[in-house]
Point group: C2
Chain length 196, copies 2
Amino acid sequence: MARRRDLADQRRRLSAATWSVLAERGLPGLTLRAVAERAGCTTGMVLHTFADKQALLVHARELLHRRTGLRADAAQATAADPVAALRAVLLQAASPTEEKREEARVWVGFLAAALADPVLADLHRDYNRRFVARVRELVHAARPDLEPAEAADTATSLVALVEGLNALACVDPETYGERTQQIALDAALARLRVEP
Amino acid sequence: MARRRDLADQRRRLSAATWSVLAERGLPGLTLRAVAERAGCTTGMVLHTFADKQALLVHARELLHRRTGLRADAAQATAADPVAALRAVLLQAASPTEEKREEARVWVGFLAAALADPVLADLHRDYNRRFVARVRELVHAARPDLEPAEAADTATSLVALVEGLNALACVDPETYGERTQQIALDAALARLRVEP
DNA sequence: TCGTTACCGTAACGTACGCTACGGTACGAG
DNA sequence: CTCGTACCGTAGCGTACGTTACGGTAACGA
């Protein structure tokens, strides 16, 4: 036996480097060499940790989803009432701050990559459906009187609004600033507080 | 003098080929060779028509914007009342049909390309702001009683919803089908019909 | 009809990519 | 301390990219 490595930690570091490069240089700049340089290692180490580039992307995508999921759990848990929980979950999924906007750029990059890669497309679809399901349950908790179909439509609408805010904030953070995103979300949520 | 070419037509054809490749193969598959093959010519002809790849992308982006703008004009003109005009403009900007979904994939591709290319980013921001301005005026026409700031917030919200529907329909057309998109838009527009 | 010239296809250049193979190196076991 | 092995950096392979240069070709004026 010889020296052992922390494989999980390496994968985590390389995924973080992948996000960083993707946010900064975009999809065309996401090369194994760039990821290796950002992680402070070589392409040899990257391809000893992941079988190929797609495996790296898949792991980075999964880890990103898990991270946002945990953040959503936290936001949901600390909220006082169901409406506040719904608002907290949606707000943290949007990208008001610069840090979140970087995450939104990563999200757009993965979305564009998914258009050419069926595996990434499956992941994207799965994860988005899970997010819709979470929002749907929160909508149901906030407004138990709504029909299931109505709650589902509301959830897909809210998720679309959030992802639209993310996409637009990527390229025009001035128009889609923190205040604007909060106002947009609160306006959409206002329909849940009063009877239609 | 010798044979003359229709430069504008060539540019139009190559831009159409660019959209087609971008929708089908995604951003990584958008190579000059693929565009040339789709257009039925060679890379030599492409680079005699455009100075370089970026010029081709910029032209394709501008033409796409002009096309969607004209379609929005048409939708707006045939509507009976301001609310109907607003609804028609937003619906045609969303992607209910398969044909529109292809356009949405192109839109996502350009968005991702804009994250790495400042020129494309400028175009994207400009065009989106113009779309927001159009929607803002339609909102004002539909609800003249709203404060300007309120109308602006409503417009940015509606645009975000539409683009979110587009982005999500790209990767999950089942969840974000024609009916769902219409319901989402109508629900958002319902707030404009009644006094808050 | 013929020469001129704008046009574009062909071929190849340099570069950077994903990926592989091999050799050196550092660590844990004995 | 020393051996053996798991690990990873180095170097380079083949490929495909954007771009360029040049020669052939087709159309227009005369």
